[in-house]
């Protein structure tokens, strides 16, 4: 546990009578992909919001590199190296791919408020942005506005921005959402390679991708982690089969 | 500082507050249901006042003047809703601000064109003129007391309308879920026109009622509009209850502050300096109140979660 890059401890959040997350404890270790699965309404989105800082938990802790970041804002967490992708693409649609990714490379370094230098052009931020764009295969459309990209390209742009942060940990919220078979196969290959850059906490509905990628799986049902372990352990878990996988 | 002065000023503050409520209720209803920020609401207030002054001069009847104010403002409301406002419901706030700003320019200059630049006067009806003696021997103008009464009746009526009637149910449902209400077979477009006309009529009523104690002139609506904005920011945008509490707070703060701040300051300062500083500070009081509420509760006293 001590070598975990990212961990949550007893995260609890309720909305009125609804307990959305009920004492969730997870950890993410170097080099791994840890998938979180669960049926709709299990509390996955609420969990991600608490990990990334857009929701404040009622109780519990989030730690990044061993440091308690529970009270930190989303921006502060990102500067500490937490890179997230959004389930519904959150991009500056009028801006080009390069501008979107440069923003990431700039923000991590705390340089987002600068007035004196140019944002685009030469420099290591520019190089880092270009490298991230090439890595996800968007090199050919770097100057296109995000609004002109296809849905699949926008999913890749989300990943490129996260990558440009040179993160300590990725948190990916359904990166495969809305992708066809070919698209999700390509993205699966990409994510597989990314785990060496930083470990990935992967919330995903696409079970093929999850079983292909995950080193560990945690199953979230009604706000609780009902099972957690290696892929084959979770697959065999009777409780999981009953509660979630049903008759699969 | 006597108790009589205090009570008089509290009544003045209440009177100012309930008139503000008539404006703020329409604004907050229109924003709550249709998501529209309407700068031209002050123009509807002015339309009501001019219609009342015109009708009173023609017929000599204050009751007919009020009918004229209500119908003219409601008609103007329906007209601009159908011609302009309707296109703005899904538009960005900037478009709403600009288009309704354009409407102000056209209403103001149009009114100047028709009625000229000189103020009109609307007389208090004979039956309501003169002072009345309240318990405790306080003399207070009957008309202002009647305004407080009208304001409270309208507030109660609005509460009944939104909480107890079918139309109110539709309004509340339309606020939460447009598609849902449309799926239930309610003509959403008619509902919106109706809500807009209701808000306009309330503004027109306020304009006519206040027009009898102030002069009726072009540009009279905007200072009231801005105070109504302060009111609903304090109360929470979209909440009728918030508009009511906010209006009373603003009315009382403004009235009492203007009278008592110079008096309080004169304890520590020379009389002339106290009067000057007091007046200047009193003019800022309601905005300071607004700032304080924002620090404490960013979405107002009765506002929901963060606005979208």
């Amino acid at each position: 546990m001590s070598d975990a890059v990212l961990s949550t401890h007893g995260l609890r959040k309720s909305f009125g009578a609804l307990l959305a997350t009920d004492g969730v404890s997870l950890d993410l270790r170097p080099g791994e992909i840890h998938a979180v699965i669960g049926p709709n309404g299990a509390g996955k989105s609420t969990l991600i919001a608490q990990i990334c800082g857009s929701l404040v938990p009622d109780a519990g802790q989030v730690r990044l590199d061993g440091i308690d970041v529970t009270a930190a804002s989303p921006a502060q967490r990102a500067r500490r190296g937490l890179a997230r992708t959004f389930q519904v693409s959150a991009l500056a649609m009028e801006d080009s791919v390069l501008e979107n990714v440069t923003l990431g490379a700039t923000g991590r370094a705390g340089g987002g408020y600068g007035l004196l230098r140019r944002a685009l052009g030469r420099g290591d931020r520019h190089d880092r942005a270009l490298a991230a764009i090439d890595r996800v295969g968007l090199g050919g459309v770097a100057d296109m506005p995000a609004a002109a990209l296809s849905h699949g390209q926008r999913r890749l742009l989300e990943v490129a921005i996260a990558l440009s942060l040179a993160p300590r940990a990725f948190v990916m919220d359904e990166p495969m959402a809305g992708l066809g078979g070919e698209g999700s196969a390509d993205l699966t290959l990409l994510l597989d390679a990314l785990r060496t850059e930083a470990p990935i906490l992967l919330v995903e509905h696409d079970m093929d991708a999850v079983f292909a990628l995950a080193d560990r799986i945690s199953v979230l049902v009604a706000g609780r982690v009902i099972a957690s372990g290696r892929v084959d352990e979770v697959r065999a878990d009777r409780q999981v089969r009953r509660a979630y996988l049903g008759d699969l | 500082m006597s108790a009589i002065l205090l009570i008089e000023q509290v009544l003045n503050g209440l009177q100012f507050g309930v008139m503000l409520f008539l404006m703020a209720a329409g604004l907050t209803l229109i924003f709550g249901v249709m998501g529209l920020i309407n700068l031209a609401h002050g123009s509807l207030y002015m339309v009501g006042a001019f219609a009342a002054a015109f009708a009173a001069a023609a017929t000599g009847s204050f009751a007919l003047a009020l009918v004229a104010a209500l119908s003219a403002a409601a008609l103007a409301g329906v007209l601009i809703e159908v011609a302009v406002i309707r296109r703005l419901y899904d538009a960005p706030h900037l478009d709403q601000v600009l288009a309704t700003f354009a409407l102000i320019l056209m209403f103001s200059e149009g009114t100047r064109w028709v009625f000229g630049s000189f103020p009109l006067y609307l007389d208090i009806p004979d039956a309501l003129s003169g002072p009345v003696t309240l318990p405790g021997g306080i003399q207070y103008p009957l008309y202002r007391l009647a305004l407080i009464g009208v304001g409270l009746v309208v507030a109660a009526g609005l509460w009944w309308l939104t909480q107890r009637t079918r139309l109110g149910m539709q309004i509340r449902a339309g606020k939460d879920d447009r598609e849902m209400i449309a799926a239930l077979g309610v003509d959403i477009s008619k509902l919106y026109t109706l809500v807009f006309a209701l808000g306009a009529a309330l503004a027109g009523l306020a304009g006519a009622l206040v027009g009898a104690i102030q002069s009726v002139q072009v540009g009279m609506g905007e200072p009231v509009l801005i105070l109504a904005f302060v009111t609903i920011v304090i109360g929470g945008i979209g909440s009728i209850k918030g508009a009511f509490i906010g209006a009373l707070l603003v009315g009382l703060t403004d009235t009492l502050g203007g009278i008592f701040l110079p008096l309080v300051l004169s304890v520590a300062m020379a009389p002339e300096a106290a009067a000057q500083t007091g007046a200047a500070l009193a003019s800022m009081l309601i905005y300071i109140l607004m700032g304080a509420v924002l620090v404490w509760k960013p979405t107002g006293l009765f506002g929901g979660a963060r606005p979208a």
């Binding site: 801006d95 987002g112 408020y113 140019r118 | 920020i37 601000v97 945008i237």
Partner: protein
């Protein structure tokens, strides 16, 4: 269609050409009109940073315009009446020196923008509009009730303030000063747009969550932009007061805030040349329509309504054939 850079250069050069042409022909009044256009363009350039880049619909920019104006009025008033300004224990001499007045105007309006921004950015959207409008009105009433500096009647300044090496009483020289300030503001505005702050501001308008997710606080970015925006509009206020040699509460009026937004929209929101073209158009309309009818605001309203409903990009949008940023 014309590239945007060319439109910008053309607009700025056009304004200069009108003033120089009028000077050559001895048309003093036209120089004054051009000066008025340059100052309004400067104020709108400030607003454009908040409105066009940041999507912050401020209906209270007259607050900064008026503060700049009163900074000039108060300093010059004390200089011309040879009485120092007593602020508690602090005694400040009045001044007729433009550079000092400008600096004070910029600092005072930046400070006000910081406070107003801090409060109004706690929420967003329609709250922001109403709160900025309300604070503008607060300054308006404050100016009216502050009788030491003229109250409702305003404050006349008998002689235009001075600038080293320039005879500010000569209309074309004063135009030169205002024009130089405008060009500087445009350069700053262009610089800001291409700097990291501008990139972040632009993205924060489109998706605040995205900006936060890469480690930049969207609120802080907007606040910085709002302060810069207010400071530039404040400088314009000081120049405007010097043009008229008069300050009055009208500089704080909500109509002026509305008109500044109108300038930006007519020209093209979020475009460098937008405020310049908008201001020139506004001053021309005001002069021309105002000469035809006393009720020219009706026509301004109609034009504005047409632009909002049918031509979102304003003049720059029409010239470049490209829709600008969506605010």
């Amino acid at each position: 269609m014309i590239p945007e850079r060319l439109v910008t250069i053309g607009a700025v050069a056009g304004l200069l050409a009108v003033a120089l042409g009028a000077w050559a022909l001895g048309e003093i009044f036209t120089i004054t009109l051009a000066t008025r256009a340059a100052i309004l363009a400067l104020a709108a350039t400030g607003l454009n940073i908040a409105l066009g880049y940041g999507g912050l619909v401020s209906l209270g920019h007259a607050a900064f315009f008026g503060l700049g104006g009163y900074a000039m009025g108060i300093l010059a008033f004390h200089a011309q009446s040879y009485t120092p300004l007593e602020l508690g224990a602090l005694t400040i001499e009045g001044t007729k020196s433009m550079p000092v007045i400008w600096l004070v105007a910029i600092c005072v309006s930046a400070l006000a923008a910081w406070v107003i921004g801090l409060l109004s950015l706690r929420t967003g959207g329609v709250y922001f509009i109403m709160i900025t409008l309300a604070f503008g009105q607060m300054f308006y009433y404050f100016a009216i009730s502050w009788s030491a500096y003229g109250g409702e009647d305003g404050l006349p300044i008998y002689l235009r303030n001075s600038f080293p090496g320039v005879d500010t009483l000569v209309p074309v020289q004063f135009f030169g000063l205002c024009f130089a300030a405008l060009v500087l503001a445009l350069l700053l505005s262009a610089r800001l747009r291409s700097a990291p702050l501008g990139l972040a501001l632009n993205a924060a308008r489109q998706s605040p969550a995205r900006v936060a997710a890469v480690g930049i606080s969207p609120t802080r970015v907007k606040l910085v932009a709002f302060v810069i925006s207010g400071a530039i509009t404040g400088l314009a206020g000081a120049l405007y007061a010097d043009l008229n040699r008069f300050v009055s509460p009208a500089m704080f009026s909500w109509q002026l805030s509305g008109e500044l937004i109108v300038l930006v929209i007519l020209g093209g929101v979020g475009r460098l040349a937008g405020p310049v073209i908008g201001a020139c158009l506004f001053v021309t309309l005001e002069h021309w329509l105002g000469g035809l009818t006393d009720f020219w605001h009706v026509w301004l309203g109609a034009i504005l309504l047409g632009v909002v409903l049918f031509a979102r990009g304003g003049i720059v949008g029409l010239l470049t054939g490209k829709a600008g940023p969506h605010v």
